[in-house]
């Protein structure tokens, strides 16, 4: 049977869970440290022992509010926690304390948006809600265990924030952009490390196809994606699969599909997942969260400049291209470094070029981040000033940069120690210039005759003769003088 071409629109929504950067858990004082021995960061509360009670970690609410503000959400002055009841061994109380949403009972925040870039254009993705809840423990299924699994409750009770987008993403690529943008925002605001590979950010996706001018089709939920790339690939697969089904005249089943990273397919989960009735009701052990204007003000004051705003500012204040602005606001450390350097050496374009050029290359080759190498904005600005003052050439500067990082020394002292100063004085250069003109009679004659390309060759020869230390600008001028151009 021939498959029809499906011109439906892709409709994607994301449900993202983020682990918050708090020192202790959501409802008890246990530490949230990653990677400790199993069942060592536990107490009666996060273990759900009889008689235990939850106590709200206000810092978690702080971070939730920060996120809500950064996403331009409406923060509800009063929100309640609810119990989500279901049985599973990694859930110590056999209910999760979360925030449900129904008439007169809003979650922490609703109705915001996230800025992403689509085809170079800024676009806004609606954020439906932001709420707080606790994480579960971790089941470990050792292969040598005859029957059964092991449970580590260290993660039980770690603060989680759930962010749900509106179904406004139109492609797997946009979903990737959305997650990247969100991760950046979370890192910038110090809310979370947002790393899917480490589990500090998790994503489930909903995808459906909508015929042109029609209503949304049946959606499938896609789970088990371990990285942003994975999300994009899984959604791409699922999008194609749905088109193929529709193209063959079939119907999409409403189901949950798991992404298999190895085989690169989604498959319907074989276990029959009954519709769960979570029997939500307001958590009687916790008072409602009351957020007053004073608390919001404190959070606003705590909020650093957000990536989107910073990007706009870099473009307008520093007159950078959108491409450069994107690159420099990619990580908070890079943006801060850039600004500190520009404050000392007020030539933004030059600073930007060097950061996105030589410095980026150095970092990429060694797989390092900017804050992991021995380069301060002061030394960096110093290096650029040396070039600007004509003390060293651009070519020399590249070597000096590497050495400054590797040996953790100030560029100026390296230049002095290795005698790398550019030769700029006419007196010194004139000798070499004359010598080169004499040696390269042919090209010299070409220049005299008006062929300027030969000039570049002669400059190169002078540079060779001086081991790169001649000031190219001065050489160029001297050659022209000598050759009457």
């Amino acid at each position: 049977m021939k498959e029809a071409v499906i011109t439906h629109e892709t409709v994607i929504g994301l449900e993202i869970h983020v682990q918050l950067l708090t020192a202790s858990k959501m409802f008890c004082g246990c530490a949230t440290t990653f990677g400790t021995a199993p069942n060592t960061l536990i107490c009666p509360t996060c273990l759900g022992l009889p008689g235990s009670l939850p106590v709200l970690n206000r810092r978690a609410v702080d971070l939730g509010l920060r996120t809500a503000l950064a996403l331009d959400c409406h923060v509800h002055p009063r929100s309640q926690f609810h119990r989500k009841n279901y049985f599973y061994p990694d859930l110590p109380k056999d209910y999760q304390i979360s925030q449900y949403e129904y008439a007169d009972h809003p979650p922490l925040a609703t109705n915001g948006h996230l800025e992403i870039t689509v085809d170079g254009q800024a676009a806004r993705i609606g954020i439906r809600r932001v709420h707080l809840e606790e994480d579960t423990g971790r089941l470990v299924h050792p292969r040598d265990q005859a029957r059964g699994s092991l449970i580590d409750y260290n993660r039980s009770g770690v603060p989680l924030m759930e962010i749900v987008t509106e179904p406004e993403l139109r492609s797997p690529g946009e979903a990737r952009e959305c997650l990247t943008s969100l991760r950046r925002l979370l890192q910038f605001t110090g809310v979370s490390t947002g790393r899917m590979e480490e589990g500090t950010m998790r994503c489930d996706a909903n995808i459906s196809l909508r015929p042109p001018g029609g209503i949304a089709g049946t959606r499938t939920e896609v789970k088990n994606m371990n990285s942003i790339r994975s999300v994009e690939r899984a959604l791409a697969f699922e999008d194609a699969r749905q088109r193929s089904v529709l193209g063959r005249g079939g119907t999409i089943l409403q189901e949950t599909r798991h992404w298999d990273e190895r085989r690169e397919v989604t498959f319907a989960s074989r276990t029959k997942e009954e519709a769960q009735d979570y029997r939500y009701f307001p958590e009687p052990d916790l008072m409602p969260v009351t957020v007053d204007e004073a608390w919001l003000e404190r959070m606003r004051a705590e909020l650093p400049e957000l990536p989107a705003a910073r990007r706009h500012r870099f473009i307008s204040t520093y007159e950078l291209s959108p491409y450069d602005a994107d690159l420099l606001t990619g990580a908070p450390e890079t943006a801060a470094f850039f600004e500190a350097a520009v404050a000392l050496f007020p030539h933004p374009k030059t600073v930007a070029n060097w950061l996105s050029g030589e410095v980026a290359a150095y970092l990429n080759e060694r797989g390092k981040e900017l804050d992991e190498i021995a380069l301060t904005p002061e030394r960096f600005a110093g290096l650029l000033r040396l070039i600007d003052d004509g003390i060293i050439s651009g070519r020399t500067a590249k070597e000096v940069l590497v050495e400054a990082i590797v040996t953790n020394r100030d560029p100026a002292s390296i230049v002095d120690a290795r005698g790398l100063r550019q030769i700029s004085e006419d007196a010194a250069l004139a000798t070499v210039v004359d010598m080169v003109i004499a040696q390269q009679a042919g090209p010299a004659a070409d220049v005299r005759a008006g062929k300027d390309r030969a000039l570049g060759f002669l400059v190169g020869q002078v540079m060779r003769a001086t081991n790169g230390r001649a000031n190219p600008g001065a050489v160029n001028r001297l050659l022209r003088e000598r050759l009457g151009r």
Binding site: L56, R279, P284
Partner: protein
């Protein structure tokens, strides 16, 4: 009048005077338990070794002390604790097979405070399983018997604590009250029992039944001892988000302030057909005593009180169904051997829970389920608000509401055990007080053919002192609280 010499206050005075020593008193208490408890079964566990060791320490400290001012309020006084409060290293069963053998790794806040107050915890007392019941017949370990008549129930769910105090085994005990579980057994056993305002006492370490209703409270042989014990356990606890930041009064000192001007209200709904003649008469006589003492007494109305019972039997089981989900065999307590997870869950809970607990879990699960939440749970919460408002309106005119504790005195063992709904009706006067979160005090006000009859006084939020003062005035004009059952004579 000096306190009866078996009260906590009398013991402390004797310790200070050197006429009695804590180790003697503990030894006495332990032998009384041996003599009487085989029959009554008030205790589930007794910690003799530790009690003797602590008593010996207090012997020393009293010997060294000059006066009792520097010694904590309950130093050397024996106390019993209902077995639904966590005691570190000591078995805590909540009256259930499912927690058989479980030793908590931590102390409930009230236990910590009692130890700080110097009390000697003799043992854990029997209760209806997970505090669900009105007779202590739902305990997985057998019922407790009423010291006044061993063929009768002591009331529930804090039956063990009430019986232990009534039978003179300990002067003080802690119970918990969700729908009447301190007041009812206090009434049936002829002792004083107080359910504090919701939030007055920390629930941290109390095995939860219904989170929005549970409170821990004192049981004692008289009002002043009750006040003493309340003072030792009350107060804000950062570990309990529902505990109130309201200062704790010196409840014992408050008794000295007298009870001038306290106005008493009697709801017309509390004297209907369902109340035994003897109970109605005892309450009438009590009101006469109040009137004679100069307390104004007037009739009030609590129109929604009838709806309180059904509302409670939706809210409490709903919260319980969630609170008891954690008993699944995974982390602690009993675990059934099974081939898969689902079977392990169902077998563990089927074998571990008794019939009343199962009944309430099912009821509660149903009340919360999709499609029924609004009709049942939510509606019940609305009724709850109406009940609270009824009391608020009453408290515009009076300071204390007086009612019976129960429609009848203690019934016979087995009499209502097969009829859950009839059993639920025992709580008809106590439940509204939990729904409204108010403090309620039960104290003896008469006898019916040798069985105690209890009167209940209800007050405004955090006005435990008013209740205690009114009750104290009543006590001083009567002698019910001095009567002891034959077993304790």
């Amino acid at each position: 009048m000096p306190p009866a010499d078996d009260t906590a206050r009398a013991l402390r005075a004797a310790y200070a005077a050197g006429t009695r020593r804590p180790s003697e008193v503990i030894e006495d208490a332990l032998s009384r338990i041996v003599a009487r408890d085989g029959d009554l079964h008030a205790f589930l566990s007794v910690d003799e070794e530790r009690a003797r060791a602590e008593a010996a320490e207090w012997d020393e400290r009293y010997a060294r002390a000059s006066g009792t001012d520097d010694l904590p309020a309950l130093a050397g006084v024996p106390i019993a604790i209902k077995d639904n409060m966590c005691t570190r290293g000591v078995p805590t069963t909540a009256g259930s097979r499912i927690l058989d053998g479980w030793r908590p790794p931590y102390d409930a806040t009230v236990v910590t405070r009692l130890r700080q107050a110097g009390a000697i915890i003799l043992g854990k007392t029997n209760l209806d399983e997970f505090a669900m019941g009105s007779s202590t017949e739902n305990s997985a370990f057998g019922p407790t018997r009423n010291p006044w008549d061993r063929t009768r129930v002591p009331g529930g769910s804090s039956g063990g604590s009430a019986a232990a105090v009534a039978a003179g085994m300990v002067p003080l005990a802690l119970g918990s009250d969700t729908g009447g579980s301190i007041r009812l057994p206090a009434g049936f056993c002829g002792v004083v029992g107080l359910k504090p305002t919701y939030g007055r006492v920390s629930r941290y370490g109390l095995v939860a039944f219904a989170s929005s209703l549970d409170q821990i409270g004192p049981l004692a042989t008289d009002v002043a001892d009750c006040a003493l014990l309340l003072g030792a356990i009350a107060g804000h606890d950062p570990a309990d988000s529902t505990s109130a930041r309201i200062p704790v009064l010196d409840y014992v000192a408050a008794l000295q302030e007298g009870a001038r001007g306290i106005r008493i209200g009697v709801p017309e709904e509390a004297s209907g057909d369902g109340v035994d003649a003897a109970v109605a008469e005892a309450l009438r006589a009590a009101l006469d005593v109040f009137a004679a003492q100069g307390f104004p007494v007037e009739r009030i109305t609590l129109p929604t009180i009838e709806a309180a019972l059904p509302a409670y039997y939706l809210i409490a089981p709903a919260e319980a169904s969630s609170n008891l989900a954690r008993y699944d065999g995974v982390r602690y307590g009993v675990r059934a051997d099974a081939d898969d997870l689902y079977e392990m869950y169902t077998d563990t809970r089927r074998r571990g829970f008794g019939p009343e607990v199962k009944r309430r879990i099912m009821l509660g699960t149903y009340a919360l389920s999709a499609g029924y939440y609004e009709a049942y749970y939510l509606k019940a919460q609305n009724v709850r608000t109406l009940v609270a408002r009824d009391f608020e309106r009453a408290f515009e005119r009076v300071d204390v509401v007086a009612m019976p504790v129960a429609p009848t005195p203690a019934f016979a063992l087995g009499e209502k055990a097969d009829d859950p709904l009839r059993m639920y009706l025992s709580d008809i006067f106590t439940i509204p007080v939990n729904l409204a979160g108010l403090p309620g005090l039960a104290l003896p006000c008469g006898f019916d053919r040798g069985l105690p009859i209890g009167m209940q006084l209800v007050g405004r939020p955090f006005e435990e002192a008013t209740l205690l003062r009114a009750a104290h005035a009543y006590e001083r004009a009567t002698a019910w609280h001095r009567r002891r059952p034959p077993v304790a004579a």
